[in-house]
Amino acid sequence: MIENASGPIAEHLDSEMNAAQRRLQLVLDAAGAVGGWEWDIANKRLVADARFATITNQDPVELADGVSTDRFFVSIHPDDLKRVKIAVAGILAGSEVFSKEYRLVRADGGYRWVRASGRAVRDDDEEPAKFIGTLIDITEQKRVDEQLRIAQSAGGIGTFEYTVGYGTISVSEQLCRLFGLHPTKILPVRTLNNFIHPDDDPIIDLSAADELQSEGNKEFRVKRASDGKERWLARRGEYVDDVHTSGRRYVGVIFDITEAKETQQSLRQANEALAEVARESLRERDRVWKNSRDLLVVIDTKGVFLDVSPSWLEILGHAPKEIIGKRVLDSVWPEDRDQTRSELNKAADSIHTELEVRMTHNDGSPRIISWMTSREGDRVYAYGRDVTLEKQQKAILEDTELQLRQAQKMEAVGQLTGGIAHDFNNMLTGVIGALSIIKRKIAAGRTDDLDKFIDAATSSAHRAASLTHRLLAFSRRQSLDRKSVDVKQLVASMEELFQRTLGEQIELAINVDEETWKAETDVNQLESAILNLVINARDAMPEGGQLTIETTNVAFTEADLVKGETLQPGSYVVIAVSDTGTGMSQTTIDKAFDPFFTTKPIGQGTGLGLSMIYGFTQQSGGHARIYSQLGLGTTIKLYLPATRETEAQTSLEKEVEVALPRGEGETVLVVEDDDSVRMLLVDTLKELGYRVIEAVDGTRALPIIEGKGRIDLVVSDVGLPGLNGRQLAEIAIAARPDLSVLFITGYAAAAAARAEFLAPGMEMITKPFAIDDFAQKVKEMLTASSSR
């Protein structure tokens, strides 16, 4: 240094010097260079090198020469100053080691971090004589350390360093936290190892303390010191050369992997559970496949067997391996192949199909297999059941049933014809009886009260006619002609008929409630039903007894009706017919309403009576019940829906003798093969004032129709020998378009198909018919035809 310098030279030197210092500063910044000092404690002098001077912004020349010791503290950041002073005081008082990190203020106002490391040099009396040390710029390192610290704490990563052979380990605070320990910097290795699960690897294996540890990754469980909880930690790290000793240091990190482990664990458990489910369902599938008694097969979409179940052997006689790989059609009964081919295509196209196919058994016989198929992707899964035996049994059963039905039919026909004959006989008896009385009275000249017997005969004959109607109704299940019916009046009107039917041994009591409501039903059916019940009652009392007919009202509420009862809540008219006869057993009662069930000997009843009555009451919206005890008698009650409606009961009005509509000389052609019927028709028409032409059949009628004579109406039987009534009518209308034709028929089927049978200008009347109705019809048709 040049002292006392002045003038331009000095200025120049100064500026050169500044430039040099600046360069040095830059070099120091770049190199993180080390500056040294020596503090003479006894003489209180500080000597430092140029680098120390530069880094503390002091004059290197002065420091090299020696300055007062307070210059040691120049440029120290005010916040760090006290710390440093205390540490220096410690050294001066006898402390051995000085190691401080602090900030130095830079010339530009910023600061740098430095580490001052020093120690006391002692004199012979062990008293500190000198304090020497070095200063190093650690600004960069500090920043890196800070980044590292933040990274560690953010990542929950603890770090440690282990020098080979040492019993202790340097740890970070975060590492202590991971182990649940108080934060510290050095821990015995054994301390950490003791927290680790005995089955897991220790953090550092002390059994070979002087050898290199395994560098690999480790995972271990620790029991945390703070709360005793078990956590999974992972260790990663590597060896580096130790700069202080000649040994090697293991630098590692520790982090918590408990959650990852737990996730792994639960994943593994879930996987195992899933695998178990899969295994179980596989086992189940195998069991089903092996043990199935039905055929289970897998087919590809080309119709080749991919797999068949072992049941094939039992059902079709082939071992599965003989079948697998073969075409399905080869196993099908030859006659069924064409049909099966299209069915197979269908199975390959649609998701589900069902088919019944005959398959060929190994013994060459066919087996009927009922298949259900289900397609999934390019596989068709089929399930087949051997229904051969079922089919055979079904055929046998059907055959047997057919025979049984035939037998039943024959029996029913026998009963029906017998029963009808019986009922018919009864009615004929009434007619014949009345006629014979009339004949006797005429013979005796007592003609004043003939009407009564004529009425009786007419009534019996009407009933016979209505019996055949009913049979037709029964066979056709004709709907009821429901009207409001005055039941008590009906019963009263039938009293004489009952008397006649019952004979003298049976006492009749009619007990009619004056308040009896009207019933909503078919009057003819009801009449027939009551008569049937009376006849049944009579037959139940061969030795005589009392027969009571009662009418009354009843109103049922929901509560009155037991479960399963067919009656609905409401008002009903009850007609009860009771006898004091033989009565019925419960078994008989149970079957009494069955069709064709009868207790009467064959020929004495149709067995249809009660079942028809039952059906009729049901159809009317009512019910029929039987109350009976063996030896005491039977009461049958009919329940019919009541109506308060008052309507003229035309059909029940006493038949009034009205004047029959008379003809005015019109010409009627009668074609009828039955002589007596033809005679009756001809006589009636003549009496009514018509001109009548007769013909026995169609062949004889044709010339008359084709002739020129006047014909206003043709009355023809339908069932004629040769040319039938319908054909004749067509010819007639073709020849005479204005002509009307009235068909007479007893043929039920024709009557039922009235609409199809009749063309315009044609009408039909069903045998037997009342002359009145016939006269009325004829008159109507002639009137209509003349007005056309």
Binding site: T69, I86, A89, A93, G94, E126, L187, P188
Partner: protein
């Protein structure tokens, strides 16, 4: 640290650490004279904790049973000082001090004696120089050796029943290339601790004015 304790600020903690370092440096110097070997002692950190925390602090770190050299001290601040080692480290220290020549049996015979003597040097040097730096004197009792777990060592043997606090120092020894770790614990009651804090503040004040 709980509310009813004496809390040191960062500077006081630095100052206390420095005081302890001066103490252990003195002790190390004494040991060097005894064993004619390089002995290094350092105190990385100082804490004030409750007795219970001190017991668990050592309990956590040391799994084996402990051996301690114990001395009562009296002065501006009074209490009980403990130099604690894991049992095996204690023996290592004795071996380091007496040298490798001695037979194992002999060593075991004199273990307690050697430990008591070594402990006395360290504790005396440490506490004595601390007191000295704080410009006060301390009266130290004779050392005795205790063995047991950390709870036993920190139990309230003084019978004062005020719970008490522990000035807890973690120290590293390096003797004859052996690493020996140990702890110095100074058990004091609250008034003593407050007095110590006051003395530390005075010390800081002095240091600042002296070097200005």
């Amino acid at each position: 640290m709980t509310a009813d304790t004496v809390d040191l600020d960062e500077l006081e903690r630095d100052a206390l650490t420095e005081l302890v370092n001066i103490g252990v440096s003195r002790a190390a110097a004494s040991l060097r004279k005894m064993v004619h070997r390089e002995v290094l002692l350092s105190v990385p950190s100082v804490e004030i904790v409750t007795r219970k925390s001190a017991a668990s602090l050592i309990g956590q770190r040391e799994s084996e049973s402990l051996v301690a050299v114990q001395q009562q001290f009296e002065g501006p601040f009074s209490g009980r000082a403990l130099l604690i080692f894991p049992q095996s480290n204690g023996l290592s220290l004795v071996r380091a001090i007496v040298g490798d020549d001695m037979e194992e049996a002999e060593l075991l015979d004199m273990e307690d004696e050697a430990l008591a003597e070594t402990g006395n040097v360290i504790l005396n040097g440490c506490l004595g120089s601390m007191a000295n730096m704080l410009r006060h004197g301390l009266k130290m009792s004779l050392p005795d050796v205790r063995r047991g777990d950390s709870t036993l060592l920190f139990e309230d043997s003084d019978g004062r029943g005020d719970g008490g606090f522990v000035l807890f120092l973690y120290i590293n020894f390096s003797v004859r290339e052996r690493d020996i770790r140990g702890y110095i614990a100074m058990i004091m009651d609250l008034p003593s601790l407050e007095k110590l804090k006051q003395l530390i503040a005075d010390f800081i004040e002095r240091v600042m004015t002296e070097t200005e």
